[in-house]
Amino acid sequence: MTEENLSTLATQTLEVSLGPQHPSTHGVFRMNATLDGETIVKLKPVMGYLHRNHEKLAEDMTYLGSMPYTDRLDYICSMTNNFAYALAVEKLAGLEVPERAEYIRIIMAELTRLVNHTLLIGFLLNDLGAFFTPVLYAFREREKILDLFESVSGSRMMCNYFRFGGVKIDFSPGFLEGVKSIIQNYPKFLDEFEKLLSENEILMARCQNVGVLSKELAISAGISGPMLRASGVPYDIRKVDGYSIYNRFNFRVPIGEVGDVYDRYYVRILEMRESIKILAQAVKEIPEGPFISPKGAAGAKAPRTFKPPKGQVYGRIEAPKGELGFYLVSDGSPKPYRYHVRPPSFINLTILEDMCIGNKIADAIVTLGSVDIVLGEVDR
């Protein structure tokens, strides 16, 4: 078949629905892809299959009643969801947080970042075809951190540990030793993980120059988190807003250049190494003292009496997936009038089509894997 009579061949595009039940969609997410052979012509994401009406339920529940629901937003990093919600309500009600509670929160947030990035790399390799081997490494390390979460908060995944004005309860005995052992052993695991993956030619061939995201498109599409930094934008909310006590720790923010899938993978590995540095400093400097402010403790004991003043607030943090924001409108009653969650993975999906057009269908699955979506947060 020479070139010219190829063009006279009438070809059709194929409509493929990578449906809600698909091994590669990290949950119930659907992509209606229009294919010309293997290359993607159009890709429309369809969501809502896990829309659990968290915002409608929160409107007739007390402020503390919604705290366990924030665990189920991004169900891989439950502590950072609590952190964002607690910060927003503290800003609304004007509660201040004692020193020790701030350090506890930083330790929990950075441990959650380790869990999230390790899991993401495992699932990204799953999408690349290395079925389940990197996930086994990732989950072996995750179990160690989940044991720490369980010994402190009582539950492996749904910690419900933060309260407005501090945390629910102090460390359990032996927790700090656990964190110290994580600080020692995790870099060794990361070196092993990098030896396993980073120089792997198949990974490099499949991930480099795939799903490239330019800096301007990333900013205008509201992309946040490691995806934004992989495209070369030095914007980390821990440095920009300096919320909680993040400006006491010195850590660097890794930046990528090309903005392809390999950059996003490597930025997350470097971010894990920075998180371990933060953990080391936090464990060294943690003071003794109360773990919750007296007003916060009273609010936790009787949530119906916790009435923040009328008004509205928008609090945001650097969650492992990006900028997680809470917009709360209070009318003075113990129940919020409007409760909105700004989920990072929902907005990071806006440009999934731009990154996938022109690439092969297999690359679209890898690009979706590198966007790091969790459906509980996408559909709320």
């Binding site: 529940m61 007390t62 503390l64 009643g65 919604s66 705290m67 366990p68 629901y69 081997t133 072996r140 179990e143 044991d147 369980e150 010994s151 402190v152 908060s153 009582g154 539950s155 749904m158 419900n160 629910k168 309860i169 359990s172 092993e192 030896k195 396993l196 993956l197 980073s198 120089e199 792997n200 030619e201 198949i202 990974l203 490099m204 936790a300 004991k301 009787a302 949530p303 119906r304």
Partner: protein, 175 residues
Amino acid sequence: MFGFGVLKGMLVTIQNFFASYFSKDHLTTVQYPEERLSAKERYRNFPFLVYDQAPEDPRCVACDICAKECPPKCITIVRDSDAEGKPLKRPKSFDIDYSICMNCGICEEVCPFDAIFMDHEFELAEYGRFEDLMYHKDRLLKPNDHFKKIRPTDATRIDAKLAAKTQKPAPPVGN
């Protein structure tokens, strides 16, 4: 040469394979039914009611705070009343729907009488939904020493508090 990265990866896998014969921490599997992980003290699964002497008078006084504070509303309490209808400080029926409970522990936090706590029991798979998973008062009540066995530090703190409260039953009248 080209395949060196892939070989390095395979080297890691081989190291892990042989390491599982020598070093203990590479053998991470817990053989569940025979070998069990020791439950962490603060582990919380489903709530249970505590009684001190006899199951007839639990610590719960049917004040309904936990039923109001429970986010998914899975607790239903009916207050007991004696012969001529005067309400008593005791629940006639206390139902927790285990198929709705989200193990969040808020009922334990807000209970002013230390009557409800989160249990460590997790082997609760059932065949029937409505008849098996609706826990009534008799299945929820557990003695205080069960609570002491699973959560020693909290139990000693609460027993000390309750003991202190019973020492001075009523404030000295009139002085």
